[in-house]
C-alpha cells in the first residue's frame, strides 16, 4: 500500500507540473517537483520501498519530455544515491539541512541536464537564458522545498498509520 501512495504522489505531482504550473504565470520557472519525492524517499524510506518508485517516476518523465530517454532516470537515481550517502553524515531532521538539500538537488538536476546538452551535442545551446532559468528554480526550491518535504513526510506517515490501524482492526 505504501508503494501505491508513493506512486500516486508522483502522478499527482507530474500532473500538477505539466498542467497547473504551466498555466500560472507566477510559477513560471518552477523546479521539478519529483525531486522533492526523490529526496523524501532517500531521507526517510528504505531502499526496497524507494527504488521501484524512483525508477517508475523517472520512466514516466522520460516518456513525457522531449529529450534523451533515460536522462530523468539517471538524475533521480544518482540524486537518490547522493542523498543516501549524505544522510550518513548529516542530521536529516534539521530544517537547515532540508533548506539546503532541495536547492542542491535542483542544481544537481540542472547540471546533469546542461552537461548532457554539451556532451551529447543535442539541439541549440544558447547561454543567455541558462542562469535565469536555474536561478529561478533554486529560489523556488529554497522557498517551497522544505515545506513540501515535510508535507510529504507528514501525509505518508499519517497514511501508513491509518492503513495499519485499519488492517489491525
Amino acid at each position: 500500500m505504501n508503494y501505491l501512495s508513493y506512486i500516486l504522489s508522483c502522478l499527482v505531482l507530474i500532473l500538477i507540473q505539466t498542467t497547473v504550473i504551466h498555466d500560472l504565470p507566477l510559477f513560471n520557472g518552477f523546479y521539478d517537483l519529483l525531486i522533492v519525492v526523490v529526496i523524501f524517499l532517500g531521507l526517510y524510506r528504505n531502499l526496497r520501498e524507494s527504488l521501484p518508485v524512483i525508477l517508475l517516476a523517472g520512466f514516466i518523465m522520460d516518456n513525457l519530455y522531449n529529450g534523451p530517454f533515460g536522462l530523468y532516470m539517471t538524475v533521480y537515481l544518482w540524486l537518490f544515491a547522493c542523498i543516501r550517502w549524505s544522510s550518513v553524515y548529516f542530521n536529516v531532521r534539521s530544517i537547515l539541512f532540508l533548506a539546503f538539500i532541495v536547492p542542491a538537488g535542483v542544481l544537481f538536476e540542472n547540471i546533469i541536464f546542461l552537461g548532457s546538452f554539451a556532451m551529447l551535442n543535442s539541439g541549440s545551446f544558447h547561454h543567455s537564458g541558462i542562469y535565469s532559468v536555474v536561478a529561478k528554480q533554486i529560489i523556488w526550491a529554497m522557498i517551497t522545498g522544505p515545506a513540501l518535504i515535510m508535507l510529504l513526510n507528514f501525509s505518508h506517515s499519517t497514511w501508513s498509520r491509518w492503513f495499519n490501524m485499519k488492517i489491525s482492526v
Binding site: D32, L64, N66, F113
Partner: protein, 273 residues
C-alpha cells in the same frame, strides 16, 4: 587485492560510463517506435485534459462573473476578430510581395487549401529545457507525425508523437526545433532555431543581406513541413560580431506560447503548379 574504497570508485566510474553511453545512444534514436511513450501519453493525457478543462472553466467563471460581464465578452469577441484580421493582413502582404516579384517566371501558386483539425492544448513538457505541448487530437482524428501546427498569429510547431486521442507537439522554441524561413522584405533565407526560452534565433543569414529590427520572418516552405508564407515572428535584436559569414538574429515569435489554448493541425496543404 583492491580495497573496498577502490572497488567502489571503480564501480562508480563504470556506472557513469555506462550511463553516458546509454544516454548517447538513446538521444540518437529518440523517436524510433518508442511505444512506451505512446502508452504513457495515452494514460497521462486524459488526466491532463481534465485538469486543464477544470482550470479553464474556473478562469472563465472568474473572468465572466467576477469581473465586468459584458466587457469580458466583448474582449473575447474583439480578440477573435483581431486574430482573424492579423492573419488576413499577413496573407495580403505576402500576396502583394509575391505579385511584385517576377512570379510568372516560376509559374506556381501556393494555396493552403488543405484540411485542418482544431485541437485544444491539454498539457506541457515537464522540463524547462524542452518545449513541447500535448493536444487532445490523435491518430483517430487523422493526426500523424510531422504535421504542422499553427494558430492565426503564426506557426506553433510540429507533431512529433501521436497516441490514439492525444499527440505531442514540439514547439518552434524547443531547442531541437528548426524551421526553414525567409525574411519577408528581402527574401533572405535562414533557419529559425529554438533556444528553450521564449525567443528563437535566425541562423545562417548571410551578412550581405540587410536585416533590420522589426523585419517579419515567414516560413519558406522548403523544409516540406510548413506551408510557405506563414508568419513566424519578427526581428528583435541583431548581433553583428566581428567575424563570421552570418548574422546572429534574435526573433520574437508571434505565437504567445504561454497563452495558447487552441491550435490548428494542418492535415494536408497543397502546392499547386
Amino acid at each position: 587485492m583492491f580495497s573496498k574504497k577502490t572497488v567502489m570508485i571503480i564501480g562508480i566510474i563504470i556506472l557513469i560510463s555506462v550511463n553516458i553511453i546509454f544516454l548517447s545512444v538513446s538521444s540518437k534514436y529518440r523517436y524510433s517506435a518508442y511505444s512506451s511513450g505512446r502508452v504513457i501519453l495515452n494514460v497521462i493525457a486524459p488526466f491532463q485534459d481534465v485538469i486543464t478543462d477544470t482550470m479553464r472553466f474556473a478562469k472563465n467563471v472568474w473572468r465572466h462573473y467576477f469581473f465586468l460581464v459584458s466587457a469580458a465578452r466583448e474582449n473575447d469577441n474583439l480578440k477573435k476578430d483581431l486574430s482573424r484580421h492579423i492573419q488576413k493582413s499577413n496573407e495580403y502582404h505576402e500576396i502583394e510581395l509575391s505579385n511584385i516579384r517576377l512570379r510568372n517566371l516560376f509559374d506556381f501558386r501556393q494555396n493552403m487549401a488543405g484540411k485542418a483539425v482544431v485541437a485544444e492544448v491539454t498539457g506541457a513538457d515537464p522540463s524547462p529545457w524542452y518545449r513541447t505541448m500535448v493536444i487532445n487530437k490523435g491518430k483517430s482524428d487523422g493526426i500523424s507525425k510531422g504535421m504542422p501546427v499553427v494558430i492565426p498569429e503564426g506557426i506553433v510547431g510540429q507533431v512529433i508523437d501521436t497516441g490514439n486521442n492525444y499527440s505531442r507537439v514540439s514547439l518552434i522554441i524547443d531547442r531541437d526545433s528548426a524551421v526553414d524561413a525567409l525574411v519577408q522584405g528581402n527574401r533572405a533565407r535562414g533557419i529559425v532555431k529554438g533556444i528553450s526560452s521564449d525567443k528563437c534565433i535566425l541562423k545562417y543569414v548571410v551578412r550581405r543581406h540587410d536585416i533590420g529590427v522589426g523585419d517579419i520572418i515567414i516560413t519558406s516552405g522548403f523544409d516540406g513541413v510548413f506551408p510557405k508564407g506563414l508568419p513566424i515572428g519578427f526581428v528583435e535584436k541583431i548581433s553583428q560580431g566581428s567575424s563570421g559569414l552570418f548574422h546572429e538574429i534574435e526573433i520574437t515569435p508571434y505565437a504567445d506560447f504561454g497563452k495558447i489554448e487552441e491550435v490548428l493541425v494542418l492535415k494536408s496543404f497543397s502546392v499547386n503548379n
